[in-house]
């Protein structure tokens, strides 16, 4: 793994944003009874932190992420990013990375990365330059002319990350971005993501099912329970950075993972 000290930040004045979630609730109106998907969730994320949301299926972690992205409206409560409430998608403040399938298959890698810029009418030359920078950042220099079907799963996800970062938003939201990848690629991509995060200094909120991935990547892990979805624990991961493969078998790592697992087993 690449030592992080050698990474020079691409953007000297890296923008990072704070996220504030206050008393957020989500209720789905059912036929016989209402289903409470999120119950009074509050949390605060400081700029530049790497925060991972974990929890059993149906705990509302993806729902919460979609609300932070402005893609879904909460029933109650407010979400503020960089000081202003988020009411609709705002690519200036929030970049989103989805699961593998969200690249446009008819566009080349660089056109995919340019897509959010093209939506806002950024001139071609500027678009191209920014896309090249973003592709370089994720280690895909020279692959810009390929279509998604010519890229491996890991490379596709790198393109997605580049697309999420191309507008230089202070916050990057990631919804199980590595779930569709095989174990080895997943490990490599985790290291890559940490490198990119260190280089850009963004605030990252990352949703995953994998407890190992959660502890390996995070500064903080937020554990949620299902039905109703609420926060049951908020752990600080004090492991030194850069994270290494050897830490996975260490006692500190194991203790954190066990603590999360106990919460999840209880609520599942």
């Amino acid at each position: 793994m690449q030592p992080l000290a050698n990474v020079t930040p691409l953007k000297p004045a890296a923008r990072a944003g704070a996220i504030e979630v206050k008393n957020v609730g989500q209720v789905f109106r059912g036929r016989s009874q209402d289903v409470v998907a999120l119950d009074d969730v509050s949390l605060e994320i400081k700029p530049g932190r790497f925060v991972v949301l974990v929890g059993p299926s149906g705990c509302g972690k993806s729902t919460l992420l979609m609300m932070m992205a402005g893609l879904r409206q909460q029933t109650t409560g407010t979400i503020t990013i960089s000081g202003a409430p988020i009411l609709q998608p705002d690519p200036d403040r929030v970049g989103v990375v989805f699961q593998e399938a969200s690249l446009f298959p008819w566009l080349t890698a660089e056109d995919n990365v340019e897509f959010p810029l093209a939506l806002r009418g950024v001139p071609k030359a500027e678009r191209r330059a920014k896309a090249q920078d973003a592709l370089k950042l994720v280690g895909l220099e020279g692959f810009g002319k390929r279509h998604p079907h010519e890229l491996s799963g890991g490379m596709k996800q790198r393109v997605s990350i580049a697309r999420g970062l191309v507008q230089d938003p202070p916050v990057l939201l990631m919804d199980e971005p590595f779930a569709a990848l095989d174990e080895q690629t997943r490990m490599t991509m985790g290291d890559e993501l940490l490198r990119i995060w260190a280089a850009t200094g963004k605030t990252v909120v990352f949703v995953t099912h994998s407890l190992t991935e959660a502890v390996y990547l995070a500064d903080e892990v937020i554990v949620m329970s299902a039905r109703p979805g609420r926060i049951v624990d908020h752990l600080q991961v004090q492991l030194p950075r850069p994270r290494t493969y050897e830490m996975l078998s260490g006692d500190a790592f194991g203790a954190l993972r066990d603590r999360i697992w106990r919460h999840i087993r209880k609520s599942a």
């Binding site: 402005g70 690519p91 939506l119 806002r120 998604p148």
Partner: protein
Amino acid sequence: MSAKTLRHLIVIGLIVLWELLPRTGLIPELFLPSLSSTLIAGWTDAAEYGHALAVTLYEVVVSMAFACGGGILLGAIVGSLPRPRVLIMPMVSSLYAVPLVILYPVFTVWLGIGSESKIAFASIYGFLPTMLATAAGIQTIDPQLLLAARSMGATLSQRLVRVIMPAAIPTVLSGLRVGGALVIVGVVVSEMLISSAGIGYLISRYRTILDSPHVFAGVLLVLFLAITFNAAIRWIERKAAIWQTGTRAGHANDEMASGAMQPAT
């Protein structure tokens, strides 16, 4: 030997047989006139065939505009809005099973035996598969793509132009392929039934006087028309859906589309 050369050899073999079998007398000229006598018949009456081709082409082009334009428009509406879908889809699907040719005599009563009745019939004939394919193409768009576009701040019209349309192109094109082939069938068949001009009319008129070479010359022209149309669609497919070529899904679509065209022609 590659499949392609083998295919070419089979076609050449069939052409040679077409020439030889009638000449040797194995098949009477009435059933199958030799290729050369067919070509000569077409050549000597080139003006007549040219005029008929112009009429048929005009009908095909206008019907195709109606069938494809209407099919794509209505398919897009039905594919993207659930309410009209529930209302219209069951009707369209059952209509698809009806042999629409039974409507043609009605059209001749309404519109006369000129081009109008052919255009009306062929338009409806080609409209259904185009519409169904467009609706299916739009319904099967990955919702993740639309969500991703929304997260990047795409407005409704931007999502339509930059996501929905390009994503639907491959399915729409395979629908156009089937729909267009049906338009050609519709025009030629209706010309053969009741009409006063066009290739179908020539075929049916020469058949009644048992002039086989002239019948087959007309058949050759229709064949030529269908092959040209198919080649044109393939060319557009290759240009527009470049991202699908080379993937397994792309090939599967291709096979399915050409397979689906078989019963039509």
